[in-house]
Amino acid sequence: MATLYEGFTLCGLLQTQNVSDSAIQGIELDGDSDHVVVTDTTRSVTLYKVSDQKPLGNWTVKQGQSLTCPAVYNNQTKEYVVVSDKRVIRVWRNEDLNLDKAFKATVSADVWRVHSALEGEPVVLFNRGAVRLLDALLSAPQQTIENVLSEEEIIRWSTNFVVEKQHFVLFTTEQKKMHFLYVQRLNPNTLHKYRLEREDSGAPPLSVSASLWDKRINLLYMYPNGCVYQSAVAVWGQAAALEDEEAPALPRTLLLRLPVGEGELGAASAVALDEAHVAVVGVPHPSAGTGKDFLCVWNTNFQTLQAGKEMAGRIYGQVWCYSGKLLVPHGKALSVIPYDCQKSSLASALGKLWKCGKEEPRSSVAVPSWNSLLYEEQPQGPARAVETRRSKLSRKSQSVLALTVDQVLELIKTGPVEEVQREVEALVSRGDAQDLQTSVGQLACQLVGRSQAESAFYTPGALAQLVHTQYLCHSVCPDLLLLALEHKDYFLCQLCLQLFPDIPEVVTCACLRAFISVLDGDVEMVSLEPDSVSFMEGLVAAGARGGQQNGFSPALYDEDSCDAHHQPRLHQDKTPAVQLEACPVGLHKAVLLNEVLQTPYSDSLLLPHLKDLNSQQVILFLQYLQFLYLKYSQDAYTQMPGLRSPTMTQIIDWVCLVLDAHFMVLVMAPDAKGLLKNLHFFVKSQVRLFSELGKIEDSFKELHRMKPSKDIGQYSIEVIELF
């Protein structure tokens, strides 16, 4: 989820002659993440401390001169750089008061922009497309600047990045209604040119922004019809010849199709906040009429609006995003709006928290984000291609003999069981993590697909190994768990239940049904995960020891005997309790049931599927849950910290759910009578416990209030009484 917090005004805006133009030319980050350098469209540069909402410094050029590019901060020399009147580069420091006295250099061609990245020195982009490092330029200001672009080609937007110490300057141009993207790399200099695909209307992009994720430059551009496209720009690609060939089209993906209301968008802008969130200004809020003065945050994975905020006054289609804050000029003010984007993941979409408490660290690996799931299916785009090329190369160098993923995939389609098993295992054991992430899903799907088609084909070892990599989850390969159930591969079932964070409730219920109805004899021979088995062994053994520690006997039933009417029945009640010392299900069956208990679920989704159980199954399951509850509440068994075991809360939750789902059936069934009665006590004892806890809490509160906090001053006259 994303949140927009309460914003604040950083500064007021000057009124420009043309009402539709913003008064701000650009906002750049200072060396400090709390500082921004704001350049207005006329003559002044102001440094603000954002959290204090106050200006720290202001520099103005003389009347008659004008600033033609936003001031940037050179993080290496701690200097500010700005261009006035297109050709004069001015460099000054924070302590310089007067801009006119600062260093000046006049260059021989018109400058479009000066860009500065945090790690690198500033670069200067000329109107005609040439790029120079600032230092190199200032050492010989009058050097000749070559023309890269033709006369008619005009730069519309530009930015720069430093990726692995390589400077990149990106800029878009317009020429005869055609739009191009140039990627200029410095030292060694290479230039790439891409054509931006034409939108149907032929309109130019309203805004372009670029961001850097995983050393990959993502371009985000928005058209007046509300479409937001994303393109991954290959920065390491080969240099393409510029003049002769037609520039290749930049592959793009439609990220969002925003509602535009009536007419087309005028001034709007989009900026990427992270891999999944885009902030958009100047686009109408889908549920608030046609006004376009909104700042919205969209989740691109779900195409959902995550947060929206109406901005008072006109929006100029400008938005900047620095260190967790959005800066939006609107109306007569520049507002700063802090935001927060949380990673959306399967786990947060699940109802119950995935493995509450102690299991947390292990599970975090197993929860894949939507992104990795989605990208797994679509290995496209130039960057992806580059990546696979590189990994292929590295794999080639590693071993020539082993099969590649693609070859294994082919093999799975036809090969014999043993060979498939061997090759998959070989692949998994040698593969590096990056590769496996993508291929494990494919492998599993392929294996499961073949097994479903041919009943004779089943590779439990290979599947178990794939599950063990923890790159797999239920959504990637939805048939895996059912296949395992079908083949009575309980070990694999257990693994899946343990490691998949996203098992749907229907499958959980299917597993439960299968586990309950399986014969004890069938499961006892199956080898299961040793930790969970040893937990159950410990639990059962604790009961065998007599369930007493330090002479304490659980007074669950005695406690309830205060009511005189229950006195005669009491001894009868005790008998089932004694019987319950024995576990109603076999050891391995119990282990499997424990896994079900620990699976995440949400109540409302689970309840309908629980009704699928028949009354015998329900009674057995309830007996087992009661057994667990008694064991836990007897204190006789102290939980071993390292072992995977259902918690008390999980047990009680399941008891409640099963009772909810089958209450009428249980009331009617004669053999469930004793069980229900016991469970009634069970509830009573819980109620009693909580009421006692409540009393203790109240007593503590009372104690707290009793503490006299009276302040005795220098002098007082008090009355005391002695006896």
């Binding site: 220098q714 002098y715 007082s716 008090e718 009355v719 005391i720």
Partner: protein, 684 residues
Amino acid sequence: MGEFKVHRVRFFEYMPTAIRAMSFNAHTERLALARVDGSVEVFNFADRYFQEKVIPGKDAHSIEALCWVGGRLFSAGLHGEITEYDLENLRPKYSLEAYGGPIWTIISNPQGTHVAIGCEDGTVKLFEVLAEGVQFERNLDRQKGRIISLSWHPSGTRIAAGMMDMIRVFDVLTGHAIQRLLVDRSVGGCKSRETVVWTVVFLSDHTIFSSDSAGKVQVWDGHTGTLVKTHQLTKWDVLALSVSKDESSVVAGTSEGTVVQFQFIAPNLQQQEKEWVRTRTFKNHTHDVRALVEIGTAIVSGGMDTQLVVRPLLEKFEEKCFASGLRRIHFPHRNLVSCAQKARLLLLQFPGQLELWRLGESDGHGKPGDILPLKTKPEKLLYLKRKGKDHICCSALSSCGGWLAYSTVSSVRLYRLQTDNNISITKVPKLPKVLRSAHQLCFSSESSYLFAASSQSSVLVISLNQSECKYVHTLKPKSGSRQPIHLMTTSVDGKWLATANSDCEVHVYNLQKLELHCMVPMYSSCPSAMGIHPTTNNLTMVHADQQIFEFSIAEKQYTVWSRKLQMQGLHNLWLNRDTPVTHVTFNPKNPDQILLHDMYMFCIIDQSLPLPDQKTQFYNQMTLRSLSEQERPSHLHAFKVCKSFQDLMCMRLLDDQSLVVVERPLMAINSQLPAPVRQKKFAT
């Protein structure tokens, strides 16, 4: 028993000063303690740490070190003089300029024939101790840099001297330095800062312990001059070291307020060879531990946080007893507050001034536990600064509020007070010549006489009236004790005067005949408070060991109640209390009641009620409160203890039956201390 209106006074801003030096005389079991204001206190460790004597300080006369030579006490300080104290008259006997600049330390040799001092000019000076004083004998080789600390080898032939960045070992006979031990500068800190060797300890096997400003305790071999072991205790200074008599344990006090013990033991079971091992750490102080003494069964420490802590070493005790408990001594064991019961005035005594306050009033009535609204607020009537350099040692206010007197070691001043409408104070001129100084001052109940405790346990009687004051008589005990009087009280009818001195003697004088009436049978523990009953003229004494005696002056024997109390014995909870009772008074309206208090409680003893035996619940006020009127009488016993008021400096009963308690919360004292050294705490 009834309700009391209590004036709860917290405006006495008494502030004890930091402890600077200590010296323990194992022979007499007396601990001498010097504070930063130059006062010296003597505690009797054989008598429940009772503060026997206080020698008031003097402006610009700080003390750096104390040492006992036999029963004589010497001090030296940065003023450059050696001072010997007259413990019988509680004043400096003489001061001798040492001509070596400021003196940092003074020690005596184990034989008790010489003292050595360490001077700022780098000399160690030896003085011979003679019967009438000390006499300069010679200098040891003069060093560059000041001598901060000294330690005499038990044989008396060597002296170790701690200096800046080094330790020197001198041969006493030749006076030459024979060893030079270089002490490292601090590890992390600034190298340019010199390391001050704050203390050295010379053991009989020629092992030298040193503690320094870089936070180290180092063990040296004195024969070879080599470093054996370094213990880095703290980042701050290690200011004090002390060795036990059998040389099996050394304790070190740090600026962090911790005391670290080192023991000479075999590091593991099989090994025979012993070495010095750091064993225990005690943390009883919040501030610097400046002075430290190992007394065999306990570690006594004191420092910037002004309290004296006696930390018992529990392995030295077979069973639980008084000495096996941790003791903290915060307040002096004497009264700093005088009260005029009739005039409702309080006189607060500080070392440098006296303050006279009038208590507030309230006409409201309230239930027990209520705080009554004030009609008039308490009022500071007078702020009287002392004259001269000497600090005030005692003061007195007459019960009518018309007279005020105070004494320093050099003079006594008497003032006539008028407090009714317009406050005026007039110094009484021309006091009798004999009245030069007093250990205790006391007015008779009718304010017609002033009694001043003088030398050799004698009491000067001065008659007062509007026109003049006149010397009447000197009351002298027959015992010939030379010890000072520390308690003095008169009877309401003006007939009797009782005095108690540090020899534990209690004398009763007949004021009409101006002669000794009798001497109360000697008891081994020193009286800490006493009072004469207004109607029966019984003298009630409470001793430092918490025993209570009631002595009938008329019959010259213990009363029946007192015998009964001694037969039955006091309750253990009473006997095991921490602090001595510092005042005894009576309720004139109810002759059965005796009121007394210590630092943590006040108690009303009702002599008409049965005495508690060991099985009785001693602190029974809470129980009694919960019982009904009918049940109560069967649970009553004589000791009614109230702990509602803590850190008590004074408790008095005014003539209108209301109580005055003067509290000085320790929190308030702590809050006025300078900030302790900064220590890294978890998560800060």
